[in-house]
Symmetry: D2
Amino acid sequence: MMVKVGIINVTGYVGMELARLLHQHPQVELASITGRSAVGQRLGEVLPHLADIDLVIEPELGEVTLVFSALPHKTSVEAVAAALERGIKVIDTSADFRLREAKEYQRWYDFAHPAPQLLAEAIYGLAELNRHQIASSRLVANPGCYPTGAILALAPALKEELIEPDIIVDAKSGVSGAGRTLSLGTHFAEANENVSAYALEGHRHLPEITQELSGLNPELPIAVTFVPHLVPMSRGILTTCYAKLKEGREGQGELEKGMRELYREFYRDEPFIRVVDAPPQTKQTLGTNLCLIHPTIDPRTQRLIIVSCIDNLVKGGAGQALQSMNLMLGLPEGMALEGSAVYP
Amino acid sequence: MMVKVGIINVTGYVGMELARLLHQHPQVELASITGRSAVGQRLGEVLPHLADIDLVIEPELGEVTLVFSALPHKTSVEAVAAALERGIKVIDTSADFRLREAKEYQRWYDFAHPAPQLLAEAIYGLAELNRHQIASSRLVANPGCYPTGAILALAPALKEELIEPDIIVDAKSGVSGAGRTLSLGTHFAEANENVSAYALEGHRHLPEITQELSGLNPELPIAVTFVPHLVPMSRGILTTCYAKLKEGREGQGELEKGMRELYREFYRDEPFIRVVDAPPQTKQTLGTNLCLIHPTIDPRTQRLIIVSCIDNLVKGGAGQALQSMNLMLGLPEGMALEGSAVYP
Amino acid sequence: MMVKVGIINVTGYVGMELARLLHQHPQVELASITGRSAVGQRLGEVLPHLADIDLVIEPELGEVTLVFSALPHKTSVEAVAAALERGIKVIDTSADFRLREAKEYQRWYDFAHPAPQLLAEAIYGLAELNRHQIASSRLVANPGCYPTGAILALAPALKEELIEPDIIVDAKSGVSGAGRTLSLGTHFAEANENVSAYALEGHRHLPEITQELSGLNPELPIAVTFVPHLVPMSRGILTTCYAKLKEGREGQGELEKGMRELYREFYRDEPFIRVVDAPPQTKQTLGTNLCLIHPTIDPRTQRLIIVSCIDNLVKGGAGQALQSMNLMLGLPEGMALEGSAVYP
Amino acid sequence: MMVKVGIINVTGYVGMELARLLHQHPQVELASITGRSAVGQRLGEVLPHLADIDLVIEPELGEVTLVFSALPHKTSVEAVAAALERGIKVIDTSADFRLREAKEYQRWYDFAHPAPQLLAEAIYGLAELNRHQIASSRLVANPGCYPTGAILALAPALKEELIEPDIIVDAKSGVSGAGRTLSLGTHFAEANENVSAYALEGHRHLPEITQELSGLNPELPIAVTFVPHLVPMSRGILTTCYAKLKEGREGQGELEKGMRELYREFYRDEPFIRVVDAPPQTKQTLGTNLCLIHPTIDPRTQRLIIVSCIDNLVKGGAGQALQSMNLMLGLPEGMALEGSAVYP
């Protein structure tokens, strides 16, 4: 029997990507979708590429076992709490449950978190690090797109204490990462043929990156400089991470090849992580739940450079949420996430 | 049991797209791949986005029931003949079997076709028009990308004798249509931020379009002006067709809505054709086997305008070839072609 | 002594392009700029690429000899009338003075034109056709971007009565043509990797095209089908025009080469028209006031195909306006418009 | 009287951009152009966007006062030596004279430099650092595109000893930086919708960056990690530099604003450097010789982050070469380089 699931706010980029992926799931039925606009319309009227999905956008969530909230931050928390009260498992793709400390929401998102008790309960939905907790959780906070690329790139090096905890994360994202809300910066003629850095004063994904990296090795005083960049493409994030090799580590032969073996070992059984021998390209992940990771060493400066690639809307959004759903429902983790990249 | 199939020349864009689609087919096994270069290498080394496919590029085709030849024109004909001799069914994605008259190859492709007897046997692989012949054929000529978009857009109007046979086809294609062979015109910095018309003296897809449209209504003396354009995107073809409504037709009420109903009726049971109410966008077909068609009437000039959209590498290439394969193998026609578009 | 000019609404794409071009003019001084937003700010704060222009955005136009109104249609007419009353010459880049008949504004723009007497006076600012009237005018209506490409492509053929007056104009425009106002269709992730036709029910530039083409040969009952398309680039319009050769014309040897000579002759002394032997590319005009035109004949259908390319913001907007300004001020027509295209 | 100059190898991207810029120079005449291909053809036949330049591509350089060699590295050195022998001043846009030590050519370019005595004489053509030497030189080595962005971003901080000499340079370049020679990585369908890091093992621009930064403060043992990235646009480089503030510096109030003032002071009279208050965008420099620099401090990690933007073909290539030419000919440094960016 098919498990019924729903999507709250299907009309944003993560919401619509969830619908696309769920529609091809053999054991899950997308049974209810809601939207902040377009209520009462068929999904295919609003999003023609999803015309195969025979659903009407409803004002309220129907009967489902699990729901994805794809609302923006601040507005998601309420919908999540309501669903949990109805006994529905929740995967929240907003930031509302990613940070463990309520006060961080005050600082970074400028709002008093109304449900701190749920923060304590929420599991950070990065299956590669928290597989078991996700499987037994009723509330999963789906990671941000930038944190996904950064944490997966850095986790092995930090956990194995290969690097100094002073880290630079330079990320390059496609424009869909900014969502479907209109802005001058994402207006085609402005974003096209253009690259820029932004949020130099501190991007909201920074506390999330720091929190999760710190969790990997609680004694290390992690310091991260994170600079996101906008590049003229629709999808994809390439993350370049830089950190000094820990003293003593250089001499132990963990050069290039050894480093790559260590990464391979760390991610040995992961279905969606590929440690690759050549610098990866974002396009090699387009439409997939993959994270490609390429660790390398700058021999001139004894610095570890790790490059990772994801599709920000799949592994960095809807795909990773589906991966968590599969775990929470006791289904094979990779179900409905097997396709290869649409290339070129 | 899985049916074994092969791909000759997997390293071009159609070849690699065939591999992507076949890999997700539940009843067909991609068992043998060959390449003109990279023989002996694993597929994932050459095409990292296909690393999940555990195959080595071989010099010769192995034992298979059906093979796709994704060689360029002129070189494909020989490989096709050899496979047929081995009793292997063939779908040829080159132009080598699309034209019925051998002399047309002399005229348009500048070579003497070495197997005219096979031309007589080959079925033009547009399932929407030739479903039954494809199913019982051993040799299918997969349509060109431009002809696919043009013929599907025009077939109902021509067959129902709604339009004068004097037709303009103005097509806009993404750059992957030019293939993977390097050229200045497809060099990124030249093709980016640029639109151009080309092959104004006569594109090789013109005889194919004329031949198939003529076949729909043999009495009509079809005259087609076809102008292809290159637009700065990787995938997609948008085709805009123009033809005068037949005299008498204007008065019969086949305006806009009626026209759309007629198109809907014509394509009623087609799994991959969608007659849409709003102008379609190529991106709504990205990665899918769909053809979106929007017929409309210019009331000021009594001209029928039909816009169609496809992904040139799927419905205009590998996807359509798979559709024919499903028919030839007695499998459900849409198998492994169900996914929605990767949007945005 | 420098002539002082102004720009009303400098913050749109045509307004800012006017500022860029005027800033490099050796005999004209950009002396006053106004905006609907950002009043009181330095131009460089609002538009960093114009930081060299040391001006503050004012609420009201200062003392100038000539002004460009770059307001949107409907709102421009009032500003234009006010400037004329102050004795200032005006070039209006909106549509408000392009159509000669006030009733056409009701039909196409859904507003009652408040100054029909000025319509009678306004000169359509296509220097190639109306050079002398522009020079002696105090009110010039700067042509729309699509009409510029279409009219320049078709004028010689119509004037010389080479073609039947039943014409198809299939135009492909970069996204800046839609202006700087935000919309989902011009949101980067939606417009990128996408081509679409729009305004199939009738684009507002159609009456403008028809009016001007009809003026070329008043006896001919011109019928134009015009379909604009959006392509994923910032700038540029490529226009493909189709029309049957007039009967009798085919036999008179006006084939290909003759046709090109006729076009060359027609545009012999034009500084910004280039009749080219190979299909032109929009990128070859980027940043310039050029219009490249390539007339050719489809020998199979006796149809004239004319391809033209412009930069929609220069020859299709600000550059053409400057060209008219030069004429109105008695300056060399091409002044400040000499640069070659920024390519690639 | 006009000074005659020439371009050796006009058909590459730097060569053609030199032609574009020189053509609008009021005191210099482009008198001779050579090419490795297309000898005997008019420039406009080969490069239609330069049809205004009435020159034929010659096999040998004519009589000129100064020449730009736009040949690729290894092949340029000979042409440069020959021109110098003829008494012609040379600006070499290849890498052949950028490194001071001949042995570095062995190491990084894999060839024995045939003219080490000229290396000693060549001036590194970064006017902002070497203005006077350039003016009196007969041989200028035009900086690489990446080094230009990196050195200008870092020079003030290093010279003023604000930062530790352990530096990360993460650069994002448009595809034209890879030149006009065809390759799979610059094939449109591969480079489009794609971001990748490359040359992680050590890019050839690294020794150039290190050499010049070391020259700024010879006592400091500079260590640079440099990672270039390819982004899907034609032009532009955005460089993000990271370095720790020197101990003691944090407390001295060189925060954000002070830092910016220091940068402003350093570049006070520079015509082409703009220290900007908001993160700059590459598009704001398109077609111009500008370098926009935005220094900022990450208060959480006491790290200086400097973002710079250039047009890789202008300030990172032909424009900078023209700037040096103006100095060498005693002309105003900014002549023919005044235009604002073509935006959007």
